[in-house]
C-alpha cells in the first residue's frame, strides 16, 4: 500500500471490542454507516457538557457560544465542499436533504417549480432516497419521471442521453457513486447534457463526499446532499447544499420556529437562506460532531483517503475475481470506481454469505441495498457488499477473501 493509514484505527474506539465468535471486528460496512473517531464522539459530548443551549434564540452566554459552535460547523462544511456557508443547510440526513429539495420544487409558490408536463430524470442505480422523493414529486405535480439505464457492466448507459434528458427536463438527480456497484458516474457529461437544456442538477454525494475531495463549483452542479453518519460524523445530521440564488427562489418545506421573518395567525414569511430551511431547534450537537469529523478527514487528507481506498479496492478486486463461483457485481477495473464491492457466491444466498462472514467478525451488508430497481434490472435477489474506508487495511481484505472460501466450503459449493 502506498499510503499508510494504519495508525488511524486506534482513533476509533469500536475496534477495541470483540464480536461474534470472540473475533476482532473487521468492519466492511462503511457504505451503510461509518465508524466514529474519538474526536467526533467527544465533540458531541463536549457540546452538551459545556455550551448546550438553543442556538439563535437566547441572550445569554451559552446561547451565544452554542450559536458560534453551530455556525462554525456550517463554515467547516461549506469549506469541505467548496461552497459558501450561507448555502449550507443542516438536515437530519441525506434522505431529508433530498426530500427537502423535492418538496420545495413541488411548491407552486417557489419561483422555480415543477409543473405538469415537466420531466425529472434519475438513473436506474439510485438509492431509494434519490428515487422515491422524485417519484412522489412527479405524482403530485403531474411531471414525468424518466431515467438513464444501467449497462451490464454496471455503468450508466449514455447512448440515449439526449433522448432521456430533453428540453422538458427540469431536474436531473443522480448519484455520484453507486452504493451497490461502486461505479462513479460521469457527472461532467450528465451536467453538460443538463446545462444544454437548462435543467438543474442534484447530486447525491452520500458515497462520494466521505471518500474523495469534491468541489461543488468545479462539479458545476446545483444541489448536493450527503449524510454525516457516513462521513465519520454523528447520526442524525445531514447536509443539503444548493446555489444561493436557487435556494432563495425555493419555498421551504419544514415549517416552525427560527425560519420565519414574520408570522400572523393567517400567514408567515420566511427568513433568509439558509435559516428558512432549518425549522426548529436544530441538531446542534450533531452539527458540531460533523464539524469534528471534517477536521479529522482534513487532517488525514481526502487525497490520502482516496488513494488508500483505491489501493485497497484494487487489491480486493484482484483477489476476489480469482475465487471460483464468486461474481463481482459492478466494475472489476479501477476506472471511475470507489471502494464499494458487491458480489455474489453461486448457490449461497447473500444473507447466508453475510451470516458466515459475521461468524468470523466480518461485518458486511447483504440484500438490495435500498436499490431495489437496480437489483431487478440485474436480475439479482441481492448481493453481499463490502465497503471500505480509511480504517480498513490489507489484512481486512485478506480476511474477507479467506472467509469467502469458508462460506463456500460451509455451504459445500462445489465450484
Amino acid at each position: 500500500m502506498s499510503i499508510d493509514l494504519s495508525s488511524c484505527k486506534k482513533d476509533f474506539p469500536i475496534f477495541e471490542r470483540k464480536v461474534r465468535g470472540g473475533n476482532s471486528l473487521i468492519y466492511l460496512d462503511s457504505g451503510a454507516t461509518s465508524q466514529k473517531p474519538n474526536s467526533v464522539i467527544e465533540a458531541e459530548s463536549n457540546f452538551y457538557r459545556t455550551v448546550n443551549a438553543a442556538v439563535h434564540r437566547g441572550a445569554h452566554l451559552l446561547a451565544e457560544e452554542a450559536s458560534e459552535a453551530y455556525e462554525s460547523a456550517r463554515e467547516k462544511v461549506a469549506a469541505f465542499i467548496g461552497a459558501r456557508s450561507n448555502e449550507v443547510i443542516f438536515s437530519k440526513s441525506a434522505t431529508e436533504s433530498l426530500n427537502i429539495i423535492a418538496y420545495s420544487f413541488g411548491n407552486p409558490d417557489s419561483r422555480i417549480n415543477i409543473k405538469a408536463g415537466d420531466q425529472i430524470v434519475v438513473t436506474e442505480m439510485e438509492h431509494h432516497a434519490n428515487l422515491i422523493p422524485w417519484q412522489q414529486l412527479a405524482k403530485r405535480t403531474g411531471a414525468e419521471l424518466r431515467w438513464l439505464s444501467v449497462t451490464a457492466d454496471g455503468r450508466i448507459d449514455l447512448t440515449n442521453l439526449d433522448q432521456v434528458i430533453t428540453k422538458k427536463t427540469k431536474i436531473v438527480a443522480i448519484t455520484h457513486q453507486s452504493n451497490v456497484l461502486g461505479s462513479i458516474l460521469p457527472v461532467e457529461t450528465i451536467v453538460k447534457a443538463s446545462r444544454a437544456v437548462g435543467a438543474l442538477v442534484v447530486l447525491d454525494a452520500c458515497q462520494s463526499a466521505p471518500h474523495f475531495a469534491l468541489d461543488v463549483k468545479k462539479l458545476d452542479i446545483d444541489f448536493l446532499a450527503f449524510s454525516g453518519h457516513k462521513t465519520l460524523g454523528p447520526t442524525g445530521i445531514g447536509v443539503l447544499w444548493g446555489k444561493f440564488d436557487l435556494l432563495e427562489k425555493l419555498e421551504p418545506s419544514l415549517f416552525g420556529g427560527s425560519m420565519v421573518d414574520s408570522v400572523t395567525m393567517e400567514s408567515a414569511t420566511w427568513a433568509a437562506t439558509p435559516r428558512k430551511f432549518e425549522a426548529g431547534v436544530p441538531n446542534m450537537a450533531q452539527a458540531v460532531g460533523l464539524s469534528a469529523a471534517i477536521d479529522y478527514l482534513n487532517h488525514i487528507g481526502m487525497h490520502n483517503i482516496a488513494q488508500h481506498e483505491q489501493d485497497l479496492t484494487s487489491y480486493l478486486l484482484k483477489g476476489i475475481v480469482g475465487i471460483s463461483g464468486v461474481k463481482v457485481i459492478g466494475p472489476v477495473d479501477m476506472k471511475d470506481r470507489g471502494g464499494v464491492v458487491s458480489f455474489t457466491v453461486e448457490g449461497v444466498h447473500p444473507h447466508d454469505v453475510g451470516q458466515v462472514l459475521d461468524q468470523y467478525g466480518i461485518a458486511v451488508r447483504t440484500g438490495h441495498h435500498c436499490a431495489w430497481p437496480l437489483m431487478r434490472k440485474l436480475n439479482l435477489v441481492g448481493t453481499t457488499r463490502a465497503s471500505l474506508y480509511l480504517y480498513n487495511s490489507k489484512s481486512d481484505v485478506d480476511s474477507l477473501l479467506e472467509s469467502i472460501e469458508k462460506v463456500k466450503s460451509y455451504f459445500k459449493v462445489s465450484k
Binding site: P350, H351, V381
Partner: protein, 144 residues
C-alpha cells in the same frame, strides 16, 4: 461452531431440496409476502376444505432460513385443521422469540425444532417467519 446451531442439516437439506415448492394450479387463495429489509419473497397457494389444509404450495426467493422454513412448514401443515395449524404456528413463533432458551416441542413442531438456533440470531427471525406469516394471512382469510 455457533453457526451450526443456525444451519442445522435439516435446514440445509430443505434449502437444497425444498418441499411443496411450485405453485399448484388450484387454490382457494394466494398471498404474497415479502421481507422488505432483505428482499425475500414468498407466494403461497392455499386450499382448505372443512377447515382442514388440503393443499399448500409455494414459490419464492430468499435465504436458506426463509426457504427451508417455508418448506418445513408446508410438510407440517398439510392435513392439519385450522386450530391445530394455529397452535403449531404459535409454538413456532414462541420458539423464535425464545432467544436461544428453548429447544422447541418436537411432538408439535417435528422437523421445525431445527430452527431453534435461529432465535439466537435476531436478524434471522423474520426470515424464519416469512412463510409462516404468509400462511397465517392466507388461512385466516379463507376461514373468514
Amino acid at each position: 461452531m455457533e453457526l451450526d446451531s443456525l444451519y442445522q442439516e435439516v435446514i440445509l437439506d430443505h434449502y437444497r431440496s425444498p418441499h411443496h415448492k411450485g405453485l399448484s394450479a388450484n387454490k382457494d387463495i394466494q398471498v404474497h409476502h415479502n421481507n422488505p429489509s432483505c428482499g425475500d419473497e414468498v407466494t403461497l397457494n392455499l386450499s382448505m376444505k372443512g377447515g382442514v389444509v388440503t393443499d399448500l404450495t409455494w414459490d419464492g426467493v430468499g435465504c436458506s432460513i426463509s426457504m427451508a422454513s417455508t418448506s418445513v412448514m408446508s410438510d407440517l401443515l398439510v392435513g392439519k385443521g385450522y386450530k391445530d395449524a394455529m397452535n403449531i404456528l404459535d409454538n413456532f413463533v414462541e420458539l423464535m422469540q425464545s432467544k436461544g432458551q428453548s429447544v422447541g416441542d418436537e411432538s408439535i413442531l417435528e422437523d421445525a425444532v431445527a430452527f431453534a438456533g435461529v432465535s439466537k440470531f435476531p436478524a434471522r427471525i423474520k426470515c424464519a417467519l416469512l412463510g409462516w406469516m404468509a400462511f397465517k394471512d392466507a388461512s385466516s382469510q379463507v376461514m373468514q
